[in-house]
Amino acid sequence: MNWPLKKKTNGDGTSNGHIIEMLGITKVYNTGKIKVEALKGIELVVDKGEFVAVVGPSGSGKSTLLNLIGCLDTPTGGSYMIGGEAVAGLDRDALADVRNRRVGFVFQNFNLLPQLTALENVELPMLFGGVGRRERRRRAVEHLERVRLGDRVEHRPTELSGGQMQRVAIARALAMEPDIVLADEPTGNLDTGSGSDVMSLLSELWGQGRTLVVVTHDQTLAKRAGRIVEIRDGLVVTDRRAVA
C-alpha cells in the first residue's frame, strides 16, 4: 500500500502554510439534457488553523465547493492543491486515501451507517486507514469521550438523538486526525439546543488548532468563524476576515 500524499515535515504540512489552494476552480454538472455550471471560477486559499464559514443562498454552489475541497468530487477546471499536493490526475483509490488521511466530513444528515454502533462508525475511517484493531478501538473510544458520548459507544444510530448522532459524526470526522474538517450545514437538522452543542464542539476543535470549513445558514455559528466567505451563483463575492 503506498500513500501518494505523504505529509511533509515542515510542521504545518505544507510548503507555504496553505492547506487549501484553489485557483480558477469550475464545476459543471452534465446531466444529459442540461449542463449546470455550479462553480464558475473559485479562488480560495485557506491557511492551516483557519475557521472559515461559507455562506450564501441555496443553490449557490456551497456544497459543490465543499465536495471539491474534500476530494469527494473532482473539478471540471482550475487547479486545486490540498496540503501542498495537486489533486488532479489522482485515481479513485488515491482520492479515497486523500479523503481518509486529510479530510473529515460532517454532513447535515449525519450519514452514519445504521447497522454499526457509534464505536464502529468512528472506527470505520481507521479501518480504511490501516489502523490495527486494538488501536482503532482505543482511539474511537477516546474520540467519543471527547464529544461527550463515552456512555453511548455501543448504541446504534437509531438509539441516538439527532444531536448525539451529529456528535458521533464529528468523532468519526476526527478519527484519522485529518488536516481539514468539512461540515455542510451541520446544525441544519438539529433543534436549537443540540445545534449549539454541535457549534461549541466545532469551535472547540478550532481552538485545538484544526482547520475548519463550515457551510452554514446559522448567523451565530458564522460569527464564531474567523473568516466568512460568501458564495453567489458559483463565485466568491465577499471574503471577510474578522478583525482580531
Binding site: 456544497s63 469527494l72 479513485r92 483509490d93 479515497a96 479523503r99 481518509n100 451507517l113 479501518l127 468519526r172
Partner: protein
C-alpha cells in the same frame, strides 16, 4: 493484499444480512439448480455405466461374422458366390488370426423343441466350441458349469441354459443334473447362465437360448455349415489387425477379394463401443447443459438480490467512500456475499442430491429392463468437481456484477442532501 482481505472480511461480517425470506429463496433457487445438475449428471453417469456393462455382457473385444455372398469379381470368378465356411475351417482360422486370443464357430437351430417332464417349449439351440463360455461371457450360476474341451471332443450331450429359458422350462426347480430333451434326444443340464446385463445381441438375448458342444450339435443335426464365426482380439488395439488377418485368411480359402465388404462385413464390438462412448459423452454434455442452465437461473436470482441490496445501500456505500474506502473494499463484501449464498445453496443442493441418489439406488431393479439401465444414478468425482466449479463460477459472477455497480457509485451525487 492481506490488509485488503482484512478490511473486506471486517466489512462483510459487519454487513447486516439480507431479509431472511429473500435470502432463503435465493439459497433455495441455487440448491434446486444444484440438485438438477447433479441428478441429471448422475443419471447420465449411471446410464453410461450400465450401457458399458451391458455392452460387455456379450463379451469383450469380440467380432461376430455372418456368412455372405461375394459382390466383386475376383481372379476370374464371378460375383454372387456364397461364402459358407464349415466347422473344420475354425482350426485353419485359429492358425492365421494371430492377433486373436480365440476363434470359435457357431451352429444354430432357431426352433428346437425343448422339454423336461411335462413342459415343452420351442427355443434356440446353439452349437459352439467350448471357448465360447469365456468369450461370450456365459458364466454359470453356482452349482453349474459351461462345457469344456473334453465335452466337445467326446461329443457329450450336455446343455447350458440361458436363465430365462431355464425358468420357462424348469420353473422353480434346479435344472442342473436334470435330463431334458432337445428334439427328443436326452441331454444333461450342466449349467445355467448367471443373470447379466446384455445390450447387444445377434440372435436374441443369451438368457433365452441354450448352448451345446458344436461337435454334438453337428452329429445330431447333421450340419457342418457355420452360422457365425466369433473371434476375440487380444486387446482392443489388436482388433483392426485381427480383422485384417481374418479377412485375408477367409479370402484365401474361399477365393474372394479380401476387400469385399459384402463378405467381410462383421460386428466389431470395439468399434461399436467407441461410438456408444461418443454418444454417451454427447448425452452427458446435453444433460450438463440443461442442469447448468437451471443453476444459472439460480445465479441470476442471486445477482438480482445483490443488485437490490446495492441499490438499498447506495448511501452507505457513498459514506464508506467518503471516509476513504477503496473500490476493492466496497466490492469485496458483495462478491463474498454472492459467493456465500451460492455456495450455501450449492452445499444444500449437493446434500439433497446425494440423499436422493442413495434413495433411488435402494429401489430394487432386478428383472426390470428399463429400471436396470436407469436405476443406478452414480455420483462421480468428475461430476462433483464440475458442479463445484460451476457453482464457484456462478457465485463469483453473481457477486461481481452487482459489486461493480456498487463500486461505480458516485459519492458526491449520492450524499447530496436537498
Amino acid at each position: 493484499m492481506g490488509r485488503d482481505l482484512a478490511v473486506i472480511a471486517t466489512l462483510f461480517l459487519k454487513a447486516s444480512s439480507l431479509q431472511r425470506k429473500r435470502a432463503m429463496l435465493t439459497v433455495a433457487a441455487i440448491a434446486w439448480g444444484t440438485v438438477a445438475i447433479v441428478m441429471l449428471l448422475a443419471f447420465g453417469e449411471g446410464l453410461r455405466h450400465q450401457l458399458m456393462k451391458g455392452q460387455r455382457g456379450m463379451g469383450e473385444n469380440i467380432a461376430v461374422w455372418w456368412p455372405g455372398e461375394t459382390s466383386k469379381v475376383w481372379e476370374g470368378l464371378p460375383e454372387g458366390r456364397p461364402v459358407r465356411p464349415i466347422l473344420d475351417d475354425i482350426g485353419y482360422l485359429r492358425g492365421r488370426i494371430t492377433a486373436a486370443s480365440g476363434v470359435i464357430g457357431e451352429l444354430t437351430s432357431w426352433s428346437s423343441s425343448l422339454s423336461w417332464g411335462t413342459t415343452t417349449i420351442t427355443g434356440r439351440v446353439t452349437g459352439a466350441n467350448w471357448e465360447y463360455g469365456e468369450m461370450r461371457h456365459h458364466f454359470a450360476q453356482a452349482g453349474g458349469r459351461f462345457f469344456n474341451a473334453n465335452d466337445e471332443r467326446e461329443k457329450r450331450r450336455v446343455i447350458f441354459l440361458g436363465d430365462e429359458l431355464a425358468k420357462d422350462t424348469f420353473g422353480e426347480a434346479d435344472p442342473v443334473g436334470e435330463t431334458m430333451f432337445v428334439d427328443r434326444i436326452p441331454y444333461l443340464v450342466i449349467g445355467v447362465l448367471e443373470h447379466k446385463m446384455q445390450m447387444g445381441t445377434y440372435k436374441g438375448p443369451d438368457a433365452n437360448g441354450s448352448v451345446i458342444p458344436i461337435t454334438t450339435f453337428s452329429a445330431q443335426f447333421g450340419t457342418q455349415r457355420l452360422n457365425n464365426i466369433v473371434f476375440k482380439a487380444r486387446t482392443a488395439e489388436d482388433m483392426p489387425l485381427a480383422r485384417q488377418q481374418f479377412n485375408e485368411a477367409l479370402a484365401a480359402k474361399y477365393r474372394f477379394d479380401p476387400t469385399d465388404e459384402q463378405v467381410t462385413g462383421l460386428w466389431d464390438t470395439v468399434e461399436f463401443g467407441k461410438v456408444m462412448a461418443k454418444i454417451m459423452i454427447g448425452l452427458q454434455a446435453f444433460l450438463g447443459i440443461i442442469g447448468g442452465l437451471t443453476l444459472l437461473v439460480g445465479g441470476i436470482g442471486v445477482a438480482n438480490i445483490m443488485y437490490a441490496v446495492v441499490k438499498e445501500k447506495t448511501r452507505e456505500i457513498g459514506v464508506q467512500m467518503a471516509v476513504g474506502a477503496h473500490r476493492g473494499w466496497i466490492t469485496g463484501p458483495f462478491v463474498l456475499q454472492g459467493m456465500t449464498y451460492t455456495l450455501l445453496g450449492g452445499a444444500f443442493g449437493l446434500l439433497i442430491a446425494v440423499i436422493l441418489i442413495m434413495l433411488v439406488r435402494l429401489v430394487p431393479v432386478e428383472g426390470n429392463q428399463a429400471l436396470e439401465f436407469l436405476g443406478k444414478p452414480t455420483l462421480s468425482v468428475e461430476i462433483a468437481v464440475a458442479t463445484a466449479a460451476l457453482l464457484g463460477f456462478i457465485g463469483i459472477i453473481a457477486g461481481y456484477f452487482p459489486a461493480r455497480r456498487a463500486a461505480s457509485v458516485d459519492p458526491a451525487e449520492t450524499l447530496r442532501y436537498e
